[in-house]
Amino acid sequence: MSRLDYLKRLEAESIHILREVVAECEQPVMLYSIGKDSSVMLHLALKAFAPGKLPFPLLQIATGWDFREMLEFRDETARRHGLTLLVHTNPEGLQAGVKPWSHGATYSDLMLTQALRQALDQYGFDAAFGGGRRDEEKSRAKERIFSFRSAQHRWDPKNQRPELWQLYNTRKSRGESIRVFPLSNWTELDVWHYIYLNEVPIVPLYLAKKRPVVRREGRWIMVDDERLPLGEHDRVESRSVRFRTLGCYPLTAADESTADTLPLVIQEMLSSRNSERQGRLVDHEGAASMERKKQEGYF
């Protein structure tokens, strides 16, 4: 057992993973979702390669329905650290005009899964960092830190490579790629704790503030712009809300909260009786839905 306390141990492990990919892979990229996990992952990457600059670009899959505050935060972060930022949106999805509220699973498949595959193929990335954590969801709990994808971006959960000690086999055949999860062993609390101790910048949407929201299927949805269709009975209210997880604004439910500082957010999280993914409408399509989506190439 290490003499380090657990957050230092997690940090060192993540940095080791980040460096290993840069040392062994030809063209790595970091999937940057702008959320709190991405913020921590980016912070760790900056530490891993300091005093040098980040030796890989960031890639953001924009659906066109991202919260405006997220995009502002993204651009400001890239500017502050002098990062190379790539933004990709699925042109077919845009052309077809799929809408998050009317196309359900098709929407997330086209605008997230397919879009990601397009971008990875287009740039020829052979390794992509993602901010996934094993405590998020039970098929993630089974996934290796270095997770292989076929040339069709498929994950084969029954045939994962053994992964011993801190030895990662990064060798792959032509067309194959690796998804790498440096935060695999972090929990939601660890992420918040780290953000708090290290003053890692995060999107303000995580903190409570009065925001325009509308009630949809028992949940609060933020009216981030005028594109959100409002029925005649819909009433836009100004309520103090915050987000525990971030995605496309029409698909991400807000929680009523007054937690406007990090300690209050952490306190709320500690006393919450629901998991963070509960706020994501897209995850509730059958027990094995995440595993299925991952097999198809979702991060």
Binding site: L46, A50, E163, N274, A288
Partner: protein
């Protein structure tokens, strides 16, 4: 409970986080056979430490009703068995990682599969664990699977084991049953040298001794499982262990900065420390030490750092930086244990890629010394290793590496084998020690060889190995033999125990270990002299059969003559030419052969000299006679010119 109440103030939260950040982290695995109740146990630990959220509980309740195996009751297996195939088959295929915390510690649990066919997944989980919880069904006792898992746990160097005897509710909480299982288990555990074992009777379903002590087993005096996990001291690498860091990446952002990044595998490092880069052996001094972009004074094992050196020495990825005064060994041939994890068998002589630390080299396995039957611990002859086989092998690398034995340092002694064509990870292994013939010295083929030298001097080179008690007369006889050979014009050399200890072996004492090394060096020197064409006379007590056998094995058959100078202890002690026996009897000399250190009598020496019935001269004649009969020296004189005076 472990978390602040809902009405806590921000100050309370800050205090909570401050306390929380100093917790230690314990990584453990759970293993056991199917239906031993692993999932129920983890489910209960998660549930009672409030790590299962309400929405997850709702999903679990729903799934338990539809596809559970507990008749509608909460089936915790559905929480840990996250893959569709696992839920369909009701078995665990791959390792699942779960997280929970108490006021004292953070935990990462790797729930590992029991089936033999998924051994590689169990090993994956076990490789990073500090402790193993091995489950046993109290009704079934110690099973084949229990032994297999325990063996793997021992092999991978997990020093702490909890034997959780589960389902005690189904054996009426019987103390006798528990104690019987504990006895059976400890007996097996002794044979595989398992570390510290705690045996705990539990019922995961009923909650006995998992989190709270059981009122139904008052006879059990130890702590419940969670308390044990919270308090067990898994002392890691000692602070005294020397600094080692495999260089993972060379950081060169500009011409002014050249940093070496890596995770410190052991020890600690400070600015100004003298270091050595291996395998090159070049030395320098630490100029700067950085964690992220911040300069620090020192760093310890487990930290990911970047350091710069005062001198511009050549260091690249895969090299190991060490404390200058305590470098690791460097070698390219090893004895190793290999766990084979692929359908295609491991074959002797085939080349694989081997990754150890940050270094990848080519490796061939040869020979496979034996395969281990994990159930009986028997050693079986093997020419290949099949899926899930464990074998002890020789392994040769394309280049020398810095390493440490796995039991001392996992990071510098654990390796994986990669198939060069499929890129699959096909095996994992543990380096034990460097084979003597490696040490990064390559054999240089020479044109003038032993027989050429021997022809020139008209003699066959050989070793006359005189062994016997101190004072038996070895040196006297050997001296006489050499004089006569010399007169005959033979090229000889006499290696005398006392004399060699003044030079080559002056660093050695008289412990068993030093005696072995003493003989090893003399045997090697003798071999070189035989190669040079000499008749070598060795006069050493050499009390152990195994070392004399080793010396014999270094030269060709027919070149080694064991000469047993047989003198009774009483006679040798009575002579006591050097006064050593008296000293030994007074206790002033430790480990004196014949007094407090054994002499193993030769079983079939080529020449047996009984000094009680023969004079030294007669003994010498006997030796020379034997050499003539063996064709080492011819009957006439060796030189081409005969001096007939």
């Amino acid at each position: 409970m472990t978390t602040p109440a809902a009405h806590a103030t921000p100050a309370d939260i800050e205090a909570y986080l401050a306390q929380h950040s100093h917790k230690s982290l314990l990584r453990f695995i759970t293993c056991g056979s199917v239906d031993d109740g692993k999932s129920s146990l983890i489910g209960r630990l998660l549930h009672e430490s409030k790590m299962i959220f309400e929405d997850q509980l709702a999903t679990l309740a729903d799934e338990s009703r539809r596809i559970g195996t507990r008749g509608g009751e909460l089936d915790y297996a559905l929480i840990v068995d996250g893959l569709a195939a696992e839920r369909e088959q009701g078995i665990t295929i791959d390792v699942a990682y779960r997280f929970f915390a108490t006021t004292k510690r953070k935990f990462i649990v790797a729930d590992t599969p029991g089936h033999e066919q998924y051994t590689r997944n169990m090993v994956t989980g076990a490789s990073t664990a500090d402790l193993a919880v091995i489950l046993i069904d109290a009704r079934k006792g110690v099973l084949t699977q229990t032994r297999r898992h325990s063996y793997l746990v021992s092999l991978l160097g997990i020093r702490h084991v909890v034997l959780a005897v589960n389902k005690m509710d189904l054996v009426d909480y019987s103390r006798a049953r528990f104690e019987q299982i504990e006895r059976d288990y400890r007996e097996f555990a002794d044979r595989i040298q398992l570390g510290a074992i705690a045996c705990i009777p539990v019922s995961a379903v009923a909650g006995d001794n998992v989190v709270a002590a059981s009122a139904r087993m008052p006879w059990y005096g130890g702590p419940p499982l969670l308390e044990h996990l919270e308090t067990v001291s898994t002392a890691g690498p000692s602070e005294a262990s020397a600094f080692r860091m495999p260089v993972q990446w060379v950081n060169r952002p500009n011409a002014d900065f050249r940093g070496f990044s890596g995770l410190i595998a052991s020890g600690s490092v400070r600015r100004g420390d003298a270091i050595r880069a291996l395998p090159s052996g070049r030395g320098s001094t630490v100029a700067r030490l950085l964690v992220g972009a911040t300069d620090v004074e020192s760093a310890i094992d487990g930290e990911s750092v970047t350091l710069t050196l005062v001198d511009e020495i050549d260091v690249s990825r895969g090299d190991v930086l060490c404390a200058a005064d305590a470098p690791t060994e460097v070698a390219n041939q090893f004895e190793a244990t290999i766990i084979w994890m692929h359908d295609q068998p491991l074959l002797q002589g085939r080349a694989y890629l081997l990754k150890v630390g940050a270094k990848t080299v080519m490796a061939t396995v040869s020979p496979i010394k034996y395969r281990i039957n994990v159930n009986t611990l028997e050693h079986l002859a093997a020419k290949r290793l099949d899926l899930n086989d464990i074998g002890v092998c020789g392994i040769e690398l394309s280049g020398a590496i810095a390493f440490e034995p796995y039991r001392i340092n996992r990071a510098l002694g654990g390796f994986i084998l990669i198939d060069r064509l499929t890129n699959d990870t096909v095996g994992a292994g543990l380096l034990h020690f460097a084979l003597r013939r490696s040490q990064n010295v390559h054999w240089q083929a020479l044109d003038v060889n032993k027989s050429a030298r021997a022809n020139l001097s008209h003699q066959k080179p050989c070793i006359l190995w005189f062994t016997g008690l101190s004072g038996a007369g070895k040196s006297t006889i050997a001296n006489l033999v050499e004089k006569r050979l010399h007169v005959d014009g033979r090229h000889t050399y006499l290696l005398d125990g006392d004399n060699v200890r003044h030079g080559l072996n002056k660093d050695l004492g008289f412990t068993n270990q030093d005696r072995v090394e003493n003989i090893r060096r003399v045997a090697e020197v003798s071999r070189l002299m035989v190669d040079a064409g000499l008749i070598v006379l060795v006069s050493f007590i050499s009390p152990f059969r195994s070392e004399r056998r080793m010396a014999r094995a270094l030269v060709e058959s027919g070149e080694f003559f064991e000469v047993f100078v047989d003198t009774a202890l009483a006679e040798a002690e009575a002579r006591d030419v050097k006064g050593l026996y008296k000293k030994a009897r007074r206790g002033e000399l430790k480990n004196f052969t014949g007094i407090d250190s054994p002499y193993e009598v030769p079983e079939s020496p080529e020449i047996h000299l009984d000094t009680a019935s023969m004079s030294a001269e007669a003994c010498a004649s006997r030796v020379l006679e034997h050499l003539r009969l063996a064709g080492i020296i011819d009957t006439g004189t060796a030189s081409s010119v005969t001096w007939d005076i």
